[in-house]
């Protein structure tokens, strides 16, 4: 098994997996406590438009998708601030348009469409060195921002009106939060793919929200759980010759069912 770690592609996969796990653990926790899973899903799918743009204009993929997703996130942040009660419909609209735009642009792009699948299902085993470096930078950014605004994030997630009365910059943080979701989504596209992106952002945070005593604890443990899911999924997919992204998610899914079952049992025996 150890000789596997000598292959550069596997080393890259492990490092990228750890980066993605940490970003999704942190941002996913915020997404879950803010009840913004649908919003994160919207950004993730609208990001596909960025993939289309990169293909059609032959632009460098990573920066193009980052810029496009951040733009979508800003639009969603602005619209959801103005009409909070209509946010879900607006997300649905952008979700669909972004995705359709991506597909049409790829249809119109000359040449091969093979790489397309890697954006849907992920290709953690082919992450290039340059992407790993970019991921490292984005991860540091996310960790820095989350630590700097940590207390403010608790306040706006738990009781937004009270946060406003205390003078917490609620609007600025709302935008920062959605930009971070966008960055996190773009990082995750490469590794586990668009379709499976939600799992790493929701499964561990959702499980840990029920037992954690603080957002910090929830974030840290979510990162740890995500790393376990990714690494065990990678190994299993290698030995059983399965799609890596889907295997990672299934590992997480099995853990999810066991964890919920155990919680239920504890709950029942306590009565």
């Amino acid at each position: 098994m150890l000789e596997l770690f000598n292959f550069p592609f596997f080393q890259n996969a492990v490092i990228a997996g750890i980066f993605v796990s940490i970003a999704c653990g942190l941002i996913g926790s915020l997404v879950v406590v803010n009840r913004s899973v649908f919003l994160a899903g919207g950004i993730a799918h609208a990001a596909y438009g960025g993939v289309g743009l990169a293909f059609f204009f032959a632009l460098p993929a990573f920066p193009t998708i980052v810029i496009f997703s951040v733009a979508i996130a800003l639009i969603m942040a602005g619209l959801s601030l103005e009409k909070r009660e209509r946010t879900d419909a607006i997300i649905g609209v952008l979700w669909a348009i972004g995705m359709a735009m991506g597909i049409i642009l790829i249809d119109l792009s000359p040449g091969y469409n093979v790489d397309l699948m890697s954006y849907l299902f992920g290709s953690i085993l082919t992450v290039p060195d340059s992407d790993v470096k970019l991921m490292a930078i984005l991860n540091l950014m996310i960790i820095g921002i989350v630590s700097f605004y940590y207390k403010d994030f608790i306040a706006i997630s738990y009781d937004r009106e009270f946060a406003k009365v205390r003078g917490v910059p609620v609007v600025r943080l709302h935008f920062i939060f959605l930009i971070m979701v966008a960055i996190c989504v773009v990082m995750t596209i490469r590794a586990v793919g668009l379709i499976l992106i939600m799992a790493l952002m929701t499964i561990a945070p959702f499980l840990l929200e029920q037992v954690s005593k603080s957002l910090l604890q929830m974030m840290m443990l979510s990162c740890v759980l995500n790393i376990l899911f990714v690494l065990s999924g990678l190994l299993i997919s290698y030995y059983l010759d399965l799609t890596s992204g889907a295997t990672i998610i299934l590992v997480a899914g099995v853990f999810f069912i066991i964890f919920q079952g155990v919680l239920k049992l504890i709950h029942l025996t306590r009565r």
Binding site: F148, K151, Y158, F162, E209, Q210, K213, L216
Partner: protein, 256 residues
């Protein structure tokens, strides 16, 4: 004795507010002075909570001016304490009782992950005041409704506000708890102005110094003499109700 009781801490000048073109408050004129203990009463949907949210700058008036501690509410709201009807975060939020109260110590400049030692000491003092210090490490979701309410009160007073707004502080609290809460509020009233919302006018107490009746229009009464007419205005003539003015209970029956 020189008291600064003549200082106006909250002023509404000709304020209108509507929600989706439905008028909630019309031409509100109001002056509340320092150290007042104000009960804001009125029927459901009469605009009590709206009045508080306007005072805190959480809502913007369609017309008119509001001054909280002499300035626009958005500039001074951090000097006020606010206890909402319920925290908007759902019950499952991963936060302890102590951390919840610590949120009340936040301001525009509190950055980083951990709270300062002083903030923690203040939060524990506030928790002791409401009798909840022993629960400080519990998750907020594990508490009863009345206990949560006491934690929210501690969160509102931890910053030593100049004016305290409480939205339905008595909901979910039993009678003996309500008496204790009134004693605590009376005690706090020595340091700060208090405005509290209640839809239950049976819950006024001898400590209350003024009453604001809110039902689209706003009437201010110095000293709680609630007459039959006021009660009629507020509640219509449909049900009998109990009033306590100056600590003496009266049963007021609507005409049948």
């Amino acid at each position: 004795m020189k008291d600064d009781g003549d200082k106006c801490v909250l002023e509404f000048q000709g304020v209108d507010f509507s929600f989706n073109s439905a008028k909630v408050l019309v031409d509100v004129n109001l002056k509340i002075y320092k150290r007042d203990f104000v009960a804001i009463i009125g029927p459901n949907g009469g605009g009590k909570t709206t009045l508080v949210k306007l005072a805190l700058g959480l809502l913007k008036p369609d017309r008119g001016q509001i001054y909280l501690l002499g300035k626009e509410p958005s500039k001074t709201c951090h000097l006020a304490g606010y206890m909402p009807q319920y925290a908007t975060g759902e019950k499952g939020f991963p936060i302890t009782v102590l951390d919840n109260v610590l949120l009340g110590t936040l301001d525009a400049n509190s950055k980083g992950i951990f709270f300062s030692k002083e903030a923690i000491e203040k939060a524990r003092a506030a928790l002791s005041l409401v009798g909840m210090d022993e629960f400080r490490d519990k998750r907020i979701g594990d508490l009863s409704g009345g206990q949560v309410q006491r934690v929210l009160l501690a969160r509102a007073i931890v910053s030593d506000p100049e004016i305290l707004f409480l939205d339905e502080p008595m909901a979910n609290i039993d009678i003996s708890g309500q008496c204790k809460l009134f004693d605590l509020m009376a005690d706090l009233n020595n340091k700060m102005t208090i405005c509290f919302v209640t839809h239950d006018i049976g819950l006024l107490s001898q400590y209350v110094k003024s009453v604001i009746c809110v039902n689209q229009k706003v009437h201010f009464h110095k000293a709680p003499k609630i007459t039959k007419d006021v009660a009629k205005l507020l509640m219509g003539e449909t049900c009998p109700m109990e009033l306590i003015a100056h600590g003496v209970p009266h049963r007021v029956l609507g005409s049948h």
